[in-house]
Subunit: 152 residues, 2 copies
Amino acid sequence: MLISTKGRYALRFMLDLAERRGEGYISLKTVATRQNISLKYLEAIANSLQNKGLVVSTRGKTGGYMLSDEPDKLNVGSILLASQGGLNTVDCNNGTGCNCTEGCLTKSLWADLNQLINGFFNGLSLQHLLDSERSEMKELNLLQHKVLKKET
Amino acid sequence: MLISTKGRYALRFMLDLAERRGEGYISLKTVATRQNISLKYLEAIANSLQNKGLVVSTRGKTGGYMLSDEPDKLNVGSILLASQGGLNTVDCNNGTGCNCTEGCLTKSLWADLNQLINGFFNGLSLQHLLDSERSEMKELNLLQHKVLKKET
DNA sequence: TTAAATTCCTATTGACATAATAGGAATTAT
DNA sequence: ATAATTCCTATTATGTCAATAGGAATTTAA
């Protein structure tokens, strides 16, 4: 699976914090309830995000988490990287971790795939998701079809 | 993993056949040796491809496989679909198979992701890989960055 | 000062998919 | 007949994922 539950939960966690930005620290318990996610599982995920500097926290009573920066400064790619430990696209990266022989025609294909997916996620911020229009995505898909079918 | 070994091997198998198109039926043994893939494993993969009509075969001595069509008529998406049983992008498809709550901001994100990846693979033929230039891919990536960063 | 609520830390478990392996049956050219 | 192949079914080893469990450390507030 390219996107695991860790990645999905992490993103929903971050969006939940983004929607309540300015209300101070939010406890995991409230997020877990609101998002229908196991509290214990969410703890581990929040910890990963904290280690990468995407959220900040305080402990003790009234403790909780908040975003480390503005929603338009936090991109989806870094959230997935922090929570999942990178995107599992394909084991063959330029021939390593793969029994590819010399002159394998698929190597650069996987490189292009990685570029496509990473570009998609890295260019997308939490603010984009909050706006939730993403007309630019639809535009992209149109361009893509044009280009691939050589109609340009 | 988005692309499993089945998908990778299937693609290399198809490319191997494509490179020898016109030479009649090619045995799995020769492909397995050439591509450094377990024969028995490749048998299962070739079978899946055959079931989806992407290759044809004959049995017995001098038996083997060949492409069912011209390389520019066979696209990478259908090969991955046949060998892997679909692309494992994310379990949440419009909310099903997911504990998403009402108004989840990530739903349409996953739909866009699926469109992006499927579009990429479905628009790519074996012939594209044989040509191995794919300048159109690089063009696509440029467009993507432009669009996502709203520089257009 | 005590109790409650929280983050933080380490370990464990069950379920599942992947990647192969194994053995042989059916088929076909020589 | 024999050899080489595709075809069919079952099994296994491994690893990752998803979640659970129990508690330690920290902080606020009654």
